[in-house]
């Protein structure tokens, strides 16, 4: 029965809530920010190479910038994205994680 439900999901999923269009972008930004925070935490501990840290930070920041451009309805998410983009690449992991948590709250509210 559950399998039949999963197979029917493409039809059920067609009914989505207003504002949900931003969900993929918010989820992607939240994940990228969490990943960036993790990389910075490990970099602070000297456990990753400088090339790895810089590459991962740049990729996370590029993902956040790219997803932020696609936001349509969520002003709160746009504010968090702007705040994240204003942080330096080697920002304290706690600062980045705070914004990631805020994005997660927005995501769950949608």
């Amino acid at each position: 029965m559950r399998l039949a439900f999963v197979l029917a999901l493409p039809l059920l999923g067609a009914c989505s809530r207003p504002g949900a269009a931003d969900l993929p972008a918010i989820a992607a930004m939240r994940s990228a920010a969490a990943e960036w925070a993790l990389v910075n935490r490990e970099a602070q501990r000297g456990r990753v190479t400088p090339a790895f840290a810089e590459g991962m930070r740049a990729a996370a920041r590029a993902a956040i910038a790219s997803e932020a451009r696609g936001l349509r309805d969520s002003a709160a998410a746009a504010r968090e994205a702007a705040a994240l983009q204003a942080l330096p690449a080697d920002a304290a992991p706690e600062h980045i994680a705070r914004h990631a948590a805020a994005l997660e709250r927005i995501e769950k509210a949608l």
């Binding site: 197979l7 067609a14 969490a34 990943e35 490990e42 190479t49 090339a51 590459g55």
Partner: protein, 411 residues
Amino acid sequence: MNPLELMLGILTAVGGFVDVSELVFAAQAGSGFGYALIWVFAFSTIGIMVFGEMSGRVAAVAQQPVFNLMRHRLGLGLGLVTLIASILSNLITCAAEVGGAAIILHLLTGASTALMALAMTAVLVGSIWVLPFKWIERAYGLLGLVMIVFAVALVKIDPPWAAIAGGFVPQVPQGLSVRELTRFAYFGVAIVSAVMFPYEVYFYSSGGIEDEWGVKDLAVNRLTCIVGFGLGSLLAITILSSSAQLFGPLHIGPQLPGSAALEVELPMGRTGLLLALLGMLFAISGAAIETCLANAYGIAQFFGWKWGRRKKPWDAPRFTLTWIILFVLALAIVLTGIDVMRLVEFAVLFSILVLPLTYLPLLLLASDRRFMRTHRNGWIANGLGWGYFVVILVAALAAVPLFILTSGGQA
């Protein structure tokens, strides 16, 4: 049966099993759904064992490559449709592998991804040109065994082993919203596609011809598929399990090939990170070669050209030119600046659409008494083959709607 050859064949299959799509989807699946998608990996692995064994048997018994037989069996029209669909799917997959390898090199060296993509393509072309077939396959497959560091890392974090074992039981998690269930279904379909990529059977069966397999090699073929693919799949499952343990609680849905390396870094530090990156680099590079050669094999076999790396490059000029052009095209796609992760998603999406076209002719050929004589499919191979064919057909029909509804698994 030479035991050393058998062992090397199995190890090569293990090291060559994981590619960029499996890395990405295993890590994302673990982070998003814990251990609940392990059974899809296990289920798909039995599928690739079934069709891999079939393609190797067809090569060994009929002494002809799959695409050549396919054209005769299906006729020019349907054969051509299959060829074109496979070329597109393999080319996108090859570009994703080249792009993934370039990103890993970028993370290792700090040099630009575009420069690394150029360098990587030059190394891959050089490898195919210089090395005999057996060593092309083995060099990258055996170096890819460095990926075992992921299994060591999993042991070090000491996950809940009972929960991991429970993941092998087919299940749909309880209490998920419709949105989450849609994502779960999308990841299920993507894993089936990533494990059963069509290029794998083209490369594997053509490799059997390159290695001059005959009926005497059928046992090696069977063991390589069952043991090699089985152990390779376990590596992918360790990536999923570590991700469930480390990334899930941090709400990270790993979106980059480099993210998986953090699964090893967290328990093992900088040395673990470097080993993970190197293992991933070799595994992805090997997959890039396999996708490119699989494409060139298909084109050359379909049109009846001379083909194979057992010949000198200039003895099979059209085949040689084809694989070089395919690598250049893959590089050109990467150099457009397209997000490599989008390429990975497209590769998986295209592949699932091509899978039925790939596996139906193979199933028909392997059951055909005229070609296979006493080595045609028995009832177990036929039963499994048709069962998996129905599953991939359903997965292919659901793939595009699920991709659109979940924005490629994002939400």
